[in-house]
Amino acid sequence: MDVIVCVKQIPDPETPAAAFKVDEGAMQVLPAQGISPVISPFDAQAVEAALRIKDASGDGTVNVVSLGPDSARDAIKHSLAMGADEGYHLKDDAFEGGDAWTTALALSKAIRHLGVPDVLIFGRQAADWDQGTVGSIVAELLDLPSATVLRAVELNGDSITVSRVVADGFENIELPTPCVLTISNEFGDPRYPQLRQIMQAARKQVTELTAADLGLAASEVGAAGSRVQMHALFQPTSDVEVEIIEGDTPEEKASGLVNALREAKIL
């Protein structure tokens, strides 16, 4: 079974809050010193899901596509080290400053260009902006059925059974192929690459594709094609006030707590 995974490189979500800085004027997140950007964790899980599908089906390929600046190649290399077969890097100055729509548009063109696979997998959202829309837009653009926020994926002959995470439990669905899936963190940890694979991945060529290669005009992608306009970007401040509830017995303390919560209209 052939799978394509779309991955995104993001600032490390583990970056300590103290190191996280925003340039409010330029409306940009400043890279933290000494901390390298990483593949979005949900996307690493998407690669894991793709590799498991390939293993379960016994044949096929797992290819990886990423749109982003030069450094995004590292996210592709990481996926290759995990075991993916080929990497494609959508790299063009024209792509800069885009939004979920332009990204999805470029990705859908790239996937047509590479040939629509049996399964197309995304992380449920990129862990930087957390919008969680690209996967679904690509599914629309390619006119494919999709299932989002998945905790389990199972091959069933030609169809696929998945389990979605929903507010009050799980939802099990069967999809035909080809289809689009987005993977949630409940799916489980991505594998740690073996050193040999890291070294092989380092030597592997990543194919670069520009907007022109995909038949896209510069006006359709990047900032020019964006449908979302940003008005402000700032770091929220949060003030925490602590009130210690006094009381001689645990019961007194508990009833004090209940009263305080009622006053705050939490209960």
Partner: protein, 746 residues
Amino acid sequence: MTKAAVTSDSDKRRTGTTSTGKRVSALAIPAWLPLGGILLVSGAETVRVTGAHRELFFNIDHFWVLYMLLPFVIGIIIYGLIRRSRVWRLGRPIISGQLSRDSLRSAFDDLPVRLGRLVKGGGGTERVLRDPYSGVMHLCIMTSMIVLFLVTALLAIDDYIPVDILVGPRYLGYSLVADIFGLVGIIGVAMAVAHRWVRPRTAWLPTWEDWLILGGLGMLLITGFIVEGLRIHTSEIDVHPEWSYWSPVGYVVALIFSGVKVSAALDIHTTFWWIHMIGALSWITLLGYSKLNHLVLAPANAFLKRTSAPGKLDMIENIEEQEHFGVAQLEHFSMKQLFELDVCVRCGRCTDNCPADIAGQPLSPMHIIQDLKSYATAVGERKVANLVQGNDLNFGLDDETPMVGGVVRDESLWACRTCGACVEACPVFIEHVPTIVDMRRSLVMEEARMPDTVQGTLETLERQGHPWRGTPYTRESWMEGIEDQVPDWTGEQDYLYFVGCTGAFVDRAQEITRSVVSLLRAADVSFGVIKGMESCNGDPARRLGHEYLYQILAEGLIELFNETGVNDEQKTVITHCPHCFNTFLNEYPDMGAKFQVIHHTQLLEQLVDAGRLVPSHDGPEQTITYHDSCYLGRHNDIFEAPRRILEQVPNVTLIEMPRNREQGLCCGAGGGNMWMEEQGKSRVNEVRVEEAVATGAESACTACPFCIQMFDSGIGTVQLDVEDEDKLKVLDVAELLQAAAVADGE
């Protein structure tokens, strides 16, 4: 200057008399001196005993059979050893030291050190004597065997040379010595048997080998006395009774046989003589086939053990070109590592001193060595056979239990703290730590199989350049508010203060970092800090088995040190953490480091000595126990510097925990365990905190940020029910010194 400082500390340590072992060992040689006196006295008996002697083959015909057998016996022993050596030779042709070095050269570098160890450790069995009971037991058996061998050889020589040495008083003195050492041997064997019955430790249940060796030796000693007794009974006691007093044990045996008719006694004598002699020759063949081989192999291993610092791990050179990473198969070990497996005598000392085993966790270094040895016997021999038959090395071995993950379980490898207590305790100089880390290397780099916590730590190291996943701090957080007091490194100062990851990212450790800075300022030390640009030196990655990541991090840091002028013989790096210290001092030279290294306690001690820091402020009266960090103490011989600082702080009384200095118990954090979930009955830090609490001290002092954290969290559980103000306080040596030597607000 600083490397010299390390040596001087260790020299001072060597002159100290701290461990029991050393005291007993000093007794080892003089113990037998009184015998010299006995020999002298025997000279005074000259008048009455002129002519005393004995006949070599008294009452024995066909003794030449013995001489015929001798070459066979030697052949059988040599055959056994050569057979084993074929398994050893499966390993990589590296004996010790750096992988790239020519193996022969590296086995013989530092020759004086090796020879010294051979004499003291191999021949003098210095380490064996650290345990008084088994030390004495071993000394009895060993000296008895040596003396009796010499005695027998002397008798034979005497018979074949024209001059008679063994006549008259010399013969009688000789007889006495032989008898005494025969008795000493029996005492030793009895102690060994009792040891196995009365004090069976789970770590070493005796096997057939033990009983065969001990039973055989006991039998030889007893039959020897029977033969002697019968000879005295039949030929001496009636004619020269005054001679026989010089064989006291034989004399008693002769008295026991006094009722037996001389003709019958002669027959019994012949029988026992042959039993004794054939027994001796058979017993000695065990040398090639059992742990008795330690007679030869242990001194060899004492010689072959690496001479570099014990905390240093071997570098995998040209790692990108390796066919495999770490050790997953016997043939990935070095010859020395395979050889070593056969040296183990199953004494259990390594396991008895292992923090993981003490805490009931799934690791016993003795079992790792022993299980690998059994595997090397079973599978190694088949690999050898494959080679002989021209097959692929691993032909027909696909279904064997895998060595890593099967014979040695993953959780055992992860439980190791690389604390070196096992290496320090092993009387036959086995080096467990590199063997364990080599197998970890395979788990991590070859198979990518590791606990989640290890994976998380390695990922954080890769991405963020430090191991503290989820820390809310940056590298500069610790200097918030005191930025102007922390000088930037300009390349002009004498010392770079390397804060390290823990000193920067963990809040409790940040306090200590600030104490060190305040002390350096108070003593007017010319130092600077590379602010915000430090990255991990790679020690956690290396100890967790990720050699490749270690090399990447180390190369990056060396590059930073090159760019900033730190990597210079004239510059000294002060490390906050003993792990940074060990890596910089012992491992970075392999990566091209030239700078000097000093641990903060060493420098502080020098500053106190020089009067640049005066601990004059009276604090409250307090008793403090000092906990040795493994990587400062056992691995780098720095035991006294921190203690001397504590001794100079007013009103401080220093008391020791029973396990201290070389025998110190790990806090539980080493070998990357700082970031792992512990498995097993209890936690190592709790065991150590209990030991500290049991001294009655009010505070525990240490010099390692990991130890501090492990103590703090151990106290949380061990002293759960103790009021906060009565709980054990945990301090870094620098904090205590700061309170005593730096005026408030400075």
